[in-house]
Amino acid sequence: MEYVGLLIGGVLPAFLFGFSNTCNKLATQNKIGVGPFLILFGLATLLVGMISFFLFPEIVFVWKGASLAFMLGVLQMAATAGIIIALNSYKVPNGKLVPLFNMNTLVAVLLALWIFSEYKEVEVVELLIGSLCIVIGGTLVARA
């Protein structure tokens, strides 16, 4: 059971995020400003959200969850604006940015161990070693 969850929530998203991080670069190569990029990104998110009603018809609205989600969108776009500006104006290669921002692994893992007490559910040492391997491996691959 757990492996299916890891596949759905970890491995599959890795491929999708990989494609989406490449589309960032393709978009800037074809000339796009930050404003239009973020608006179009947001509209696409709205569209996917609406389509997903067909898959998950149950409607549960919680103010706290919705405002946190709104904040997630704002933060995501603020950071994405930085990525687009770095690609557009500072000509940083995408291959340098992707491993850098994927170091968020370390931030998220440490926060999760602490905030959600996930140290009770996982082997902490293995998780940290594995995460480090992925981060270091990412940096190596991008420098190849």
Binding site: E2, G9, A14, G73, Y90
Partner: protein
């Protein structure tokens, strides 16, 4: 373009996003824990994204777009949203700790780099040793995390 300005680019396009995306991994789980249903979750994210987009539209002078770039921007949004939705689903239904999902989905560096080798013809001047050793490390790391 001087070296220091490229460093600034790496700061705003790499380090800051690393912190923000890390925090967003946590927010993802917090939202799932509130019990908000997935479609509403993603519509709320979309509204946040559009709102930020509109603000940045007025703040940034660069308002160019082409048909092709617009299409790629939409693709980024769709792919990212579906990926995040899958991770939220795994947290909700399979009760997978977010600390395990984040390292796994951040193996996407590997995917992005291999796509770049192919799409941007970067394979012509790639160094094989870091490429293979780095890929191996990512995959070994992924296996260790899965078993953690």
């Amino acid at each position: 373009m001087t070296v220091s300005s490229q460093k600034f680019g790496m700061l705003i396009g790499g380090i800051v996003p690393a912190l923000v995306f890390g925090i967003n991994g946590i927010i993802n789980k917090l939202v799932v824990q509130t019990g908000l249903s997935l479609p509403l979750y993603f519509i709320a994210i979309g509204l946040g994204c559009v709102a930020t987009g509109v603000v940045s539209y007025f703040l940034c002078a660069d308002r160019r777009y082409t048909k092709t770039s617009a299409l790629y921007a939409c693709s980024t949004g769709c792919l990212w949203t579906v990926a995040l939705m899958l991770s939220a689903y795994a947290i909700d239904v399979y009760k997978i700790p977010i600390g395990k999902l984040v390292p796994l989905y951040n193996m996407n560096t590997l995917v992005a780099v291999f796509l770049a080798l192919w799409l941007f013809k970067e394979y012509k001047n790639v160094r094989l040793v870091p490429l293979i050793s780095g890929s191996a490390l990512i995959i070994i790391g992924g296996i260790i995390v899965t078993k953690a």
